[in-house]
Assembly symmetry: C2
Homo-oligomer: 152 residues x 2
Protein backbone atom coordinates (compact mmCIF):
# COMPACT_ATOMS: atom_id res chain seq x y z
CA UNK A 1 0.00 0.00 0.00
CA UNK A 2 2.02 2.99 -1.22
CA UNK A 3 1.73 6.45 0.32
CA UNK A 4 -0.37 7.74 -2.54
CA UNK A 5 -2.55 4.71 -3.17
CA UNK A 6 -4.39 4.85 0.14
CA UNK A 7 -4.86 8.61 -0.11
CA UNK A 8 -6.32 8.21 -3.59
CA UNK A 9 -8.51 5.38 -2.32
CA UNK A 10 -9.93 7.62 0.43
CA UNK A 11 -10.69 10.37 -2.08
CA UNK A 12 -12.32 7.89 -4.41
CA UNK A 13 -14.47 6.41 -1.61
CA UNK A 14 -15.71 9.88 -0.62
CA UNK A 15 -16.38 10.86 -4.22
CA UNK A 16 -18.34 7.71 -5.00
CA UNK A 17 -20.47 7.15 -1.89
CA UNK A 18 -23.33 9.18 -0.49
CA UNK A 19 -24.38 7.44 2.71
CA UNK A 20 -22.70 7.06 6.08
CA UNK A 21 -23.49 5.14 9.26
CA UNK A 22 -23.74 7.32 12.33
CA UNK A 23 -23.34 6.07 15.91
CA UNK A 24 -25.08 8.12 18.56
CA UNK A 25 -25.54 7.38 22.22
CA UNK A 26 -29.12 6.55 23.23
CA UNK A 27 -30.30 6.36 26.82
CA UNK A 28 -28.46 3.09 27.48
CA UNK A 29 -27.26 1.85 24.13
CA UNK A 30 -25.29 3.17 21.18
CA UNK A 31 -27.47 3.22 18.07
CA UNK A 32 -26.60 3.11 14.37
CA UNK A 33 -28.48 5.14 11.79
CA UNK A 34 -27.97 5.80 8.09
CA UNK A 35 -27.41 9.38 6.93
CA UNK A 36 -26.59 10.85 3.55
CA UNK A 37 -23.39 12.86 4.00
CA UNK A 38 -21.05 15.35 2.42
CA UNK A 39 -17.61 16.62 3.40
CA UNK A 40 -16.67 20.28 3.69
CA UNK A 41 -13.14 21.29 4.74
CA UNK A 42 -12.72 18.08 6.70
CA UNK A 43 -16.07 18.32 8.51
CA UNK A 44 -18.70 15.66 7.86
CA UNK A 45 -21.96 17.42 6.92
CA UNK A 46 -25.32 15.81 7.79
CA UNK A 47 -28.89 17.06 7.39
CA UNK A 48 -31.00 15.46 10.08
CA UNK A 49 -34.70 15.41 10.88
CA UNK A 50 -35.62 16.48 14.39
CA UNK A 51 -38.13 13.62 14.37
CA UNK A 52 -35.39 10.99 14.09
CA UNK A 53 -33.95 9.27 17.15
CA UNK A 54 -30.35 10.31 16.36
CA UNK A 55 -31.37 13.97 16.64
CA UNK A 56 -32.75 13.35 20.12
CA UNK A 57 -29.61 11.39 21.09
CA UNK A 58 -27.22 14.17 20.13
CA UNK A 59 -29.09 16.64 22.31
CA UNK A 60 -27.64 14.85 25.34
CA UNK A 61 -24.35 13.54 23.92
CA UNK A 62 -22.52 15.30 21.08
CA UNK A 63 -19.86 12.57 20.76
CA UNK A 64 -20.51 10.50 17.66
CA UNK A 65 -18.89 7.89 15.45
CA UNK A 66 -19.36 7.60 11.71
CA UNK A 67 -18.35 5.13 9.00
CA UNK A 68 -18.35 5.39 5.22
CA UNK A 69 -17.97 2.05 3.43
CA UNK A 70 -17.61 0.79 -0.12
CA UNK A 71 -21.05 -0.60 -1.06
CA UNK A 72 -21.21 -4.38 -1.22
CA UNK A 73 -21.71 -5.94 -4.64
CA UNK A 74 -21.87 -9.50 -5.87
CA UNK A 75 -18.19 -9.33 -6.81
CA UNK A 76 -16.70 -7.75 -3.65
CA UNK A 77 -16.01 -9.96 -0.64
CA UNK A 78 -17.87 -8.56 2.38
CA UNK A 79 -14.66 -9.07 4.39
CA UNK A 80 -12.52 -6.73 2.34
CA UNK A 81 -14.62 -3.63 1.65
CA UNK A 82 -12.55 -0.46 2.02
CA UNK A 83 -13.96 1.89 4.64
CA UNK A 84 -13.17 4.95 6.70
CA UNK A 85 -14.20 5.60 10.28
CA UNK A 86 -14.37 8.82 12.25
CA UNK A 87 -15.09 10.02 15.74
CA UNK A 88 -15.89 13.60 16.58
CA UNK A 89 -18.30 16.10 18.03
CA UNK A 90 -21.48 17.00 16.20
CA UNK A 91 -22.96 20.49 16.29
CA UNK A 92 -25.47 22.51 14.28
CA UNK A 93 -23.77 24.46 11.51
CA UNK A 94 -23.49 28.07 12.73
CA UNK A 95 -25.91 30.47 11.04
CA UNK A 96 -23.11 32.44 9.38
CA UNK A 97 -21.82 29.28 7.68
CA UNK A 98 -25.17 27.79 6.60
CA UNK A 99 -24.86 28.80 3.00
CA UNK A 100 -21.43 27.27 2.28
CA UNK A 101 -22.23 24.04 4.14
CA UNK A 102 -25.63 23.73 2.45
CA UNK A 103 -24.00 24.25 -0.93
CA UNK A 104 -21.40 21.55 -0.21
CA UNK A 105 -24.11 19.18 1.03
CA UNK A 106 -26.38 19.68 -1.99
CA UNK A 107 -23.47 19.30 -4.39
CA UNK A 108 -22.98 15.76 -3.03
CA UNK A 109 -26.67 14.99 -2.25
CA UNK A 110 -28.73 16.92 -4.83
CA UNK A 111 -31.86 14.84 -4.05
CA UNK A 112 -32.01 16.50 -0.63
CA UNK A 113 -32.86 19.94 -2.02
CA UNK A 114 -36.62 19.76 -1.18
CA UNK A 115 -35.80 18.84 2.46
CA UNK A 116 -34.30 22.29 3.05
CA UNK A 117 -37.85 23.67 3.06
CA UNK A 118 -38.89 21.24 5.86
CA UNK A 119 -38.87 23.06 9.20
CA UNK A 120 -37.78 20.02 11.24
CA UNK A 121 -34.47 19.47 9.38
CA UNK A 122 -31.20 20.90 10.66
CA UNK A 123 -27.78 21.00 9.05
CA UNK A 124 -25.06 19.57 11.31
CA UNK A 125 -21.32 19.22 11.07
CA UNK A 126 -19.03 16.73 12.75
CA UNK A 127 -15.73 18.24 13.83
CA UNK A 128 -13.58 15.17 13.33
CA UNK A 129 -11.05 14.27 16.03
CA UNK A 130 -9.88 10.82 14.86
CA UNK A 131 -9.84 9.05 11.50
CA UNK A 132 -9.01 5.47 10.64
CA UNK A 133 -8.82 3.86 7.25
CA UNK A 134 -9.27 0.17 6.54
CA UNK A 135 -8.25 -0.43 2.94
CA UNK A 136 -9.15 -4.13 3.06
CA UNK A 137 -8.55 -7.18 5.21
CA UNK A 138 -5.57 -6.41 7.47
CA UNK A 139 -4.89 -3.03 5.84
CA UNK A 140 -5.67 -0.57 8.62
CA UNK A 141 -4.02 2.72 9.53
CA UNK A 142 -4.76 5.81 11.57
CA UNK A 143 -4.98 8.96 9.46
CA UNK A 144 -3.82 12.20 11.10
CA UNK A 145 -6.68 14.72 11.00
CA UNK A 146 -4.43 17.18 9.13
CA UNK A 147 -3.89 14.55 6.43
CA UNK A 148 -7.64 13.90 6.25
CA UNK A 149 -8.30 17.62 5.84
CA UNK A 150 -5.74 17.84 3.06
CA UNK A 151 -7.61 15.14 1.14
CA UNK A 152 -11.03 16.79 1.03
CA UNK B 1 -47.20 -0.36 2.75
CA UNK B 2 -49.27 -3.52 3.20
CA UNK B 3 -48.78 -5.95 6.07
CA UNK B 4 -46.96 -8.44 3.88
CA UNK B 5 -44.94 -6.09 1.74
CA UNK B 6 -42.76 -4.76 4.54
CA UNK B 7 -42.23 -8.25 5.97
CA UNK B 8 -41.14 -9.50 2.56
CA UNK B 9 -38.91 -6.46 2.18
CA UNK B 10 -37.15 -7.24 5.47
CA UNK B 11 -36.58 -10.86 4.42
CA UNK B 12 -35.27 -9.74 1.06
CA UNK B 13 -32.88 -7.21 2.65
CA UNK B 14 -31.46 -9.89 4.98
CA UNK B 15 -31.13 -12.42 2.15
CA UNK B 16 -29.34 -10.00 -0.16
CA UNK B 17 -26.92 -8.15 2.13
CA UNK B 18 -23.88 -9.40 4.00
CA UNK B 19 -22.55 -6.42 5.93
CA UNK B 20 -23.87 -4.52 8.92
CA UNK B 21 -22.81 -1.40 10.79
CA UNK B 22 -22.20 -1.95 14.47
CA UNK B 23 -22.25 0.78 17.11
CA UNK B 24 -20.21 0.11 20.22
CA UNK B 25 -19.39 2.43 23.07
CA UNK B 26 -15.74 3.53 23.23
CA UNK B 27 -14.22 5.30 26.21
CA UNK B 28 -16.06 8.56 25.50
CA UNK B 29 -17.63 8.16 22.09
CA UNK B 30 -19.86 5.69 20.27
CA UNK B 31 -18.00 4.19 17.33
CA UNK B 32 -19.25 2.65 14.08
CA UNK B 33 -17.59 -0.38 12.51
CA UNK B 34 -18.47 -2.63 9.59
CA UNK B 35 -19.04 -6.33 10.24
CA UNK B 36 -20.17 -9.14 7.99
CA UNK B 37 -23.26 -10.66 9.63
CA UNK B 38 -25.69 -13.54 9.58
CA UNK B 39 -28.98 -14.14 11.39
CA UNK B 40 -29.79 -17.25 13.40
CA UNK B 41 -33.16 -17.59 15.13
CA UNK B 42 -33.46 -13.83 15.46
CA UNK B 43 -29.94 -13.31 16.83
CA UNK B 44 -27.46 -11.29 14.80
CA UNK B 45 -24.26 -13.35 14.43
CA UNK B 46 -20.89 -11.62 14.11
CA UNK B 47 -17.34 -13.00 13.95
CA UNK B 48 -15.00 -10.40 15.40
CA UNK B 49 -11.25 -10.09 15.72
CA UNK B 50 -9.94 -9.47 19.22
CA UNK B 51 -7.52 -6.98 17.65
CA UNK B 52 -10.35 -4.71 16.50
CA UNK B 53 -11.50 -1.76 18.57
CA UNK B 54 -15.14 -2.96 18.71
CA UNK B 55 -14.00 -6.13 20.50
CA UNK B 56 -12.30 -4.02 23.17
CA UNK B 57 -15.35 -1.77 23.47
CA UNK B 58 -17.77 -4.64 24.12
CA UNK B 59 -15.62 -5.88 26.99
CA UNK B 60 -16.81 -2.88 29.00
CA UNK B 61 -20.25 -2.28 27.49
CA UNK B 62 -22.31 -5.08 25.95
CA UNK B 63 -25.06 -2.74 24.70
CA UNK B 64 -24.79 -2.29 20.95
CA UNK B 65 -26.68 -0.93 17.99
CA UNK B 66 -26.61 -2.38 14.49
CA UNK B 67 -27.95 -1.37 11.09
CA UNK B 68 -28.33 -3.31 7.86
CA UNK B 69 -28.98 -1.14 4.80
CA UNK B 70 -29.74 -1.61 1.13
CA UNK B 71 -26.45 -0.88 -0.70
CA UNK B 72 -26.39 2.40 -2.56
CA UNK B 73 -26.29 2.25 -6.34
CA UNK B 74 -26.33 4.88 -9.06
CA UNK B 75 -30.10 4.40 -9.45
CA UNK B 76 -31.22 4.46 -5.78
CA UNK B 77 -31.65 7.79 -4.04
CA UNK B 78 -29.45 7.87 -0.92
CA UNK B 79 -32.44 9.31 0.96
CA UNK B 80 -34.73 6.34 0.44
CA UNK B 81 -32.63 3.21 1.00
CA UNK B 82 -34.59 0.61 2.98
CA UNK B 83 -32.85 -0.35 6.21
CA UNK B 84 -33.36 -2.12 9.50
CA UNK B 85 -31.92 -1.11 12.86
CA UNK B 86 -31.48 -3.10 16.04
CA UNK B 87 -30.37 -2.60 19.58
CA UNK B 88 -29.41 -5.44 21.88
CA UNK B 89 -26.79 -7.07 24.05
CA UNK B 90 -23.79 -8.78 22.50
CA UNK B 91 -22.22 -11.89 24.01
CA UNK B 92 -19.89 -14.66 22.87
CA UNK B 93 -21.82 -17.61 21.47
CA UNK B 94 -21.88 -20.28 24.22
CA UNK B 95 -19.58 -23.23 23.56
CA UNK B 96 -22.48 -25.69 23.26
CA UNK B 97 -24.03 -23.60 20.45
CA UNK B 98 -20.83 -22.83 18.49
CA UNK B 99 -21.49 -25.36 15.78
CA UNK B 100 -25.01 -24.23 14.79
CA UNK B 101 -24.11 -20.53 14.92
CA UNK B 102 -20.92 -21.11 12.93
CA UNK B 103 -22.86 -23.05 10.33
CA UNK B 104 -25.45 -20.26 10.02
CA UNK B 105 -22.69 -17.65 9.77
CA UNK B 106 -20.73 -19.51 7.08
CA UNK B 107 -23.88 -20.19 5.08
CA UNK B 108 -24.32 -16.41 4.75
CA UNK B 109 -20.60 -15.45 4.69
CA UNK B 110 -18.76 -18.38 3.07
CA UNK B 111 -15.61 -16.26 2.50
CA UNK B 112 -15.08 -16.18 6.27
CA UNK B 113 -14.29 -19.90 6.50
CA UNK B 114 -10.47 -19.46 6.79
CA UNK B 115 -10.93 -16.98 9.67
CA UNK B 116 -12.27 -19.72 11.91
CA UNK B 117 -8.70 -21.05 12.19
CA UNK B 118 -7.45 -17.65 13.44
CA UNK B 119 -7.08 -17.76 17.24
CA UNK B 120 -8.02 -14.10 17.78
CA UNK B 121 -11.51 -14.37 16.23
CA UNK B 122 -14.62 -14.98 18.36
CA UNK B 123 -18.17 -15.73 17.33
CA UNK B 124 -20.68 -13.37 18.97
CA UNK B 125 -24.44 -13.08 18.98
CA UNK B 126 -26.60 -10.03 19.58
CA UNK B 127 -29.73 -10.82 21.56
CA UNK B 128 -32.00 -8.26 19.95
CA UNK B 129 -34.26 -6.18 22.20
CA UNK B 130 -35.63 -3.60 19.72
CA UNK B 131 -36.05 -3.54 15.94
CA UNK B 132 -37.06 -0.71 13.67
CA UNK B 133 -37.63 -0.80 9.95
CA UNK B 134 -37.35 2.16 7.60
CA UNK B 135 -38.76 1.11 4.25
CA UNK B 136 -37.95 4.43 2.59
CA UNK B 137 -38.40 8.15 3.18
CA UNK B 138 -41.10 8.57 5.82
CA UNK B 139 -41.87 4.81 5.99
CA UNK B 140 -40.74 3.86 9.50
CA UNK B 141 -42.20 1.38 11.94
CA UNK B 142 -41.19 -0.47 15.06
CA UNK B 143 -41.11 -4.23 14.60
CA UNK B 144 -42.00 -6.36 17.65
CA UNK B 145 -39.11 -8.73 18.40
CA UNK B 146 -41.48 -11.72 18.08
CA UNK B 147 -42.35 -10.57 14.55
CA UNK B 148 -38.67 -10.17 13.72
CA UNK B 149 -37.95 -13.70 14.97
CA UNK B 150 -40.80 -15.08 12.87
CA UNK B 151 -39.19 -13.59 9.74
CA UNK B 152 -35.78 -15.22 10.05
Amino acid sequence: MSENTWKNDIQSLIANTHIAFLSTMGEHTPETSMCPYAVYKGDIVLHLSGLAKHSKNIQSNQNVGLMICTPETATNSPLALARIGFTGKIEPVPQAKQSVYQQAYLKHIPDAEPLFSFPDFTLYRIKVNAVHWIGGFGKARKVPTATWKSLC
